[in-house]
């Protein structure tokens, strides 16, 4: 019994205390340290959300086929992600995934 999400928290705690670079022999050639990588990805994620959160909200439910035919019932049923089947799954924001964990 591993409880996978605990591994993420453990990794985060260790990363915040360990600023050493990585050994490229073990990481497929990357030398960047975990801490530095964390800061870069964190910053990228932070800046990126301003686009779907404010500038271009359509990036979340990126159902571009329904944008071409916004009044077509069948297109919206098949390719709409919000109330349809969502057959073209493409999104640019992971806030959507937060809907997958709240008790209802």
């Amino acid at each position: 019994m591993i409880w996978p999400s605990d591994l993420v928290n453990c990794t985060l705690f260790y990363t915040l205390h360990d600023h050493s670079p990585s050994d490229p022999a073990k990481t497929g050639g990357w030398t960047i340290g975990r801490h530095k990588w964390f800061l870069i990805v964190w910053t990228g994620s932070f800046i990126w959300y301003f686009f779907p959160g404010w500038i271009f909200q359509g990036l979340s439910w990126f159902c571009w086929l329904t944008w071409i035919w916004p009044e077509s019932v069948i297109v919206n049923q098949l390719f709409g992600g919000y109330s349809g089947y969502g057959l073209f799954p493409l999104t640019f924001v992971s806030t959507l995934f937060s809907m997958l964990c709240i008790p209802r």
Binding site: I2, W3, P4, S5, D6, L7, V8, N9, C10, T11, L12, T15, S22, K26, T27, G28, W30, R34, F38, W42, T43, G44, S45, F46, W48, Y49, F50, G53, W54, I55, F56, Q57, G58, W61, C63, T66, W67, P70, V73, N76, Q77, F79, G80, Y82, S83, G84, Y85, G86, T91, S94, T95, L96, F97, S98, M99, L100, C101, I102, P103, R104
Partner: protein, 457 residues
């Protein structure tokens, strides 16, 4: 939930289940017009009446109790296709998780129970033995205190819930915590008991929405929180936090968070304009609260008997109990007969129940989630395991924390300050398609007319 965390076999089971049930089966039902699907959207979190509008629960309640005369005068309840199907899958999950865990893990559960604390310690346990353990009676006292408080809540306020219903309610987490916990500990996906609690209380105390919500919270959320609690204890174990400190920090944090939650909720209901409406500017549309509300109407006010018993519209969904109970036996035999085949990885509680957040989540969200998960936990993990070991989890943590901080800033600095987001296609037209407003419905009901039967159970 980050798609970078669950192992690939868990993701594959969940997405496979969604494809089979929420695409193939659901399309068969929807496009054949079964369940009057022509008049309803494919999926969202609302219930509908027989004129194609959202079900207005105030029409059937008198003083928050179900009023049968009003119900017959108004309308039976219709659900979007995938919403109805989600109930069937919930039945299957509840049955499947018990059978699955008994077959696959029964022997090891029994062995562990017999050994109890006399097992050989692993490295974590040996290190933890340096600390003084939190006494068992601390937990016992906490349990008794909380049990007493719960009885006070149920009996002292006008909840319309008798005390014995609370006793029944406590049996549910006792039975299901271990099976669901085993699935969560392996796959990082927690199956829900919401429908089981709704089902039991709906037959037991029909026509009482408030009692139903209390029953559901105590029965289901108890199990859910118990497992998150166990997960946090395990985190403490991994990080070598002294058990006594862990106990007190969890207890104090729980009490504090209860106070903060109530305060924030009351603030939000007063301060955010149009909160919980579909047109709320920053999408504070309360999708989970809406599903909770719809569920309380279906199960608490109208009651499962009118929806799922006898010749009610959705009675065929009861077959899912049987489906969920039998299919794990088949996969278990196949996995034993062909131990090196793909059957080894088939986990039916996940196939049925991994989709438990639909609605309000949608198949689209799951497919996006599965695609990202498969990229990291299948493709990258095989192609460059060194990278995956070194960076996968820290990438997941960075993406999530960066996003959370960013949502706070965008919300408080931009939305709450009254600033207007740029008005252009990507913020207006992209959000007003038939899909986004849940109006992708084949046939509209003419004004003043209704669809479906003229009498209903």
């Amino acid at each position: 939930m980050s798609p970078l965390i669950p192992p690939f076999h868990a993701i594959a089971n969940v997405v496979g289940g969604i494809f089979v049930f929420f695409i193939v089966v659901s399309m068969g039902i929807h496009y054949s017009g079964y369940w009057y699907a022509d008049y309803l959207p494919v999926q969202n979190s609302h219930a509908y009446d027989n004129s194609g509008y959202r079900y207005d629960v105030t029409e059937i309640l008198t003083d928050f109790q179900f009023d049968e005369a009003k119900y017959f005068a108004y309308s039976p309840l219709y659900l979007p296709t995938q919403f109805a199907l989600a109930y069937g899958l919930a039945f299957a999950t509840i049955a499947a998780v018990i059978v699955h865990v008994a077959l696959y893990h029964g022997r090891s559960i029994w062995a562990q129970m017999k050994m109890a604390r006399n097992q050989e310690d692993d490295i974590h346990m040996r290190l933890m033995k340096k600390y003084r353990d939190a006494e068992d009676w601390w937990y016992a006292v906490l349990f008794v205190t909380m049990l007493a408080l719960s009885f006070v809540v149920v009996c002292a306020w006008p909840t319309s819930m008798p005390w014995w219903a609370y006793v029944v309610c406590m049996v549910i987490p006792v039975v299901w915590t271990i099976p669901i916990g085993i699935v969560q500990a392996v796959t990082n996906i927690q199956l829900g008991l919401n429908v089981l609690t709704e089902y039991i209380v709906g037959y037991m105390l029909p026509g009482r929405p408030l009692a139903m919500m209390i029953f559901k919270n105590y029965g289901y959320v108890c199990m859910s929180q118990a497992l998150f609690f166990a997960q946090d204890l395990k985190l403490g174990h991994y990080m070598k936090v002294p058990p006594r400190i862990l106990f007190w920090s969890q207890l104090i944090a729980s009490i504090w968070s209860a106070i903060v939650q109530i305060a924030v909720m009351n603030w939000a209901l007063g301060a955010i304009p149009d909160i919980c409406t579909d047109t709320q500017a920053n999408q504070y549309t309360c999708p989970n609260a809406k599903v909770f509300y719809t569920a309380s109407v279906i199960w608490g006010a109208i009651g499962p008997a009118r929806m799922f018993s006898g010749d009610a519209l959705y009675s065929s969904l009861q077959w899912f109990w049987l489906l969920g109970a039998i299919t794990p036996i088949i996969t278990w035999f196949l996995a034993r007969r062909y131990p090196r085949s793909i059957w080894r990885y088939v986990n039916l509680p996940l196939v049925f129940g991994g989709s438990g957040w639909i609605p309000p989540a949608t198949a689209y969200i799951y497919f996006c989630w599965g695609t990202v998960g498969a990229f990291f936990n299948y493709y990258l993990r095989r192609r460059n395991q060194g990278w995956w070991l070194q960076y996968n989890y820290v990438t997941s943590a960075a993406l999530d924390t960066g996003l959370i901080v960013s949502t706070f800033i965008v919300f408080f600095a931009l939305w709450m300050s009254g600033a207007q987001p740029p008005v252009w296609f990507g913020n207006v037209e992209a959000l007003s398609t038939l899909d986004m407003v849940s109006r992708a419905v084949k046939s509209a009901v003419p004004p003043g007319e209704t669809f479906g039967p003229s009498t209903w159970p």
